[in-house]
């Protein structure tokens, strides 16, 4: 091709600074924020990539699971009786024991963190003579976060959103949910790539960190906006007309009945211990 020859500059075109190696000694500057942000984002991405929502053979169907989860959280929150909370804790722990190693780690980390936070916040209350509240709240935090994470980790994301559909959440909301989950991964990848590019070029003192970070945020938004446009095109190409048909009726599972009976027992226990029966 003719262009190649015309575009090849003579060697003299190369400026002197480029022809000799760079002797540059950097001064130090604080930019720990960039690396910390990259870490935070990649930990989020790692959690999404794990993709280990796997139902066990004894699990109920997703809809029943969501109902169970919400009921447990509600009852635990309402309970004034420590024995009831302990029973819920025992049940949660037994289920957690049976999780695969990776999922167990995440449940323990998540529930432990929220219980720890509860304890720290409540410590002054112990000094005020409200130790009971402190312990109750900490245990409740352990149970509700544990139940939530166990439910999420044992249910594929697709089943979760479908369960929402069964429970009457409109299709548009589910579509937004699906799109958001997808966007988080895409945005996260773009964001960590852009932050990495910023770090690689931050070889000295950055006078205007806010502008640089604004640039990274802006890049992420513009890129995501473009791909959102493309996504909409892709949806139209597959005959999308604004109505999101979530199909595939969920198979009833044999375990559903047993789990609903268990829920009934829990409610009975709650009422009994709360003293309303």
């Amino acid at each position: 091709m003719a262009l190649v020859d015309t575009m090849a500059p003579a060697p003299t075109d190369i400026p002197d600074w480029l022809a000799s190696p760079e002797r540059y000694q950097p001064v130090s500057d604080r930019d720990g924020f960039i690396s910390r942000s990259i870490l935070a984002i990649s930990s989020v991405l790692a959690r999404f990539r794990l993709d280990d929502g796997q139902a066990s053979p004894l699990s109920p169907s997703a809809t029943v699971k969501v109902v169970l989860c919400l009921s447990c959280i509600l009852l635990t929150s309402l309970s004034r009786n420590y024995l009831f909370v302990m029973i819920m804790l025992a049940g949660t722990l037994v289920r957690a024991c049976l999780l695969p190693r990776g999922a167990l780690g995440r449940v323990v980390a998540g529930a432990g963190a929220s219980a720890g936070l509860a304890l720290v916040i409540m410590l002054p209350a112990v000094a005020l003579g409200q130790a009971h509240s402190a312990l109750l709240l900490t245990t409740k935090a352990l149970v509700s976060t544990g139940v939530t994470l166990i439910t999420t980790l044992t249910t594929p994301a697709a089943d979760l959103t479908r369960a929402l559909r069964v429970m009457g959440v409109p299709g548009v909301a589910i579509l937004t949910m699906d799109l958001t989950l997808r966007s988080i991964v895409r945005l996260g990848e773009t964001a960590s790539e852009a932050l990495a590019a910023l770090r690689l070029r931050s070889v000295g003192r950055n006078a205007d960190k806010a502008a640089s970070l604004g640039g990274v945020g802006g890049v992420v938004l513009v890129k995501a906006g473009r791909s959102a446009q493309e996504t909409y095109d892709a949806m139209r190409c597959r005959a999308f007309d604004g109505e999101y048909h979530v199909g595939g009726r969920e198979a009833r599972r044999g375990a559903d009945v047993a789990w609903m009976l268990a829920l009934a027992a829990i409610v009975a226990l709650f009422l009994h211990l709360q003293g309303t029966v």
């Binding site: 989950l181 996504t231 190409c237 048909h245 199909g247 009726r249």
Partner: protein, 248 residues
């Protein structure tokens, strides 16, 4: 994957070729920047056409016009004899029929996949077409088998590798069984093995007389699949291949 299998599924009618895609003196501009200038082109049923041209020469724009995503501002586009423009596409059932008959595989598979699982993704098109759940299930399992993604069915599309995503994107279009497949840069970012597989798959689509319109920069791969070339903008030096020149 067996050649013969795909052929059994969709036996092609062995009739004489008719012009399926007809562009007549078509012009299109984004805002006020012209992207397509007086383009005339006719693609017959069963043809494999490769679009080549520089960055910004309008390849992707042309594919979007063919898929009914963008509309001619002058000139006309007819698909299988029917005029496709902003007015006719306002008729929802006509638009859906066009989108079913013309499948589009985007360059960026990431942007094309938006459901929570591969299974839902492949089923999206057929469900939108209002097929029965049984038929949907049959198509999904056939498409997954043909593209060898059966083991990924419950996985989330965004967690797959580049090559796997491309397969899923093709399965999504395949399950709608279109007459025309438009590919935008299908080979970019694929490794040697995936390229070989894709070439083979394109060959299979040709063997069941699907019409292929492919935009690519890769001359050597293009040579292996094209019946003829469409050069867009200024393209010189390849005049020994069968080609037409548009959008100069």
């Amino acid at each position: 994957m067996s050649h013969t299998h795909l052929r059994e599924l969709h036996t092609p009618p062995a009739t004489g070729s008719k012009a399926l895609i007809e562009l007549d003196d078509l012009c299109f501009a984004y805002e006020d920047a012209p992207a397509l200038r007086h383009v005339s082109l006719s693609v017959r049923e069963g043809d494999s056409v490769v679009l080549m041209g520089d960055n910004g020469s309008g390849k992707s724009t042309l594919l979007k016009v063919i898929c009914g995503l963008l509309f001619a501002q002058r000139g006309s586009y007819r698909f299988d004899g029917d005029l496709v423009d902003e007015r006719t596409m306002r008729d929802a059932s006509f638009a859906k029929r066009l989108h079913q008959r013309v499948g589009f595989i985007f360059q960026d598979s990431d942007a094309q996949l938006f459901c929570a699982s591969v299974e839902d993704e492949v089923a999206f098109g057929p469900r939108q077409m209002g097929l029965s759940e049984d038929e949907v299930a049959r198509r999904v399992s056939d498409a997954c088998r043909l593209l060898e993604i059966g083991h990924l069915r419950t996985r989330a599309p965004y967690a797959l590798s580049g090559g796997e995503k491309k397969r899923v994107a093709i399965a999504c279009v395949l399950s709608m069984n279109p007459d025309v497949y438009c590919f935008d840069e299908p080979f970019a970012g694929l490794d040697a093995r995936a390229r070989a597989w894709l070439l083979d798959f394109l060959g299979q689509l040709k063997s069941v007389r699907r019409t292929l319109v492919i935009a690519t920069h890769d001359q050597s791969l293009a040579d292996q699949v094209a019946d003829y070339f469409v050069y867009m903008g200024e393209m010189h030096g390849y005049d020994d291949r069968p080609h037409v020149h548009i959008n100069e």
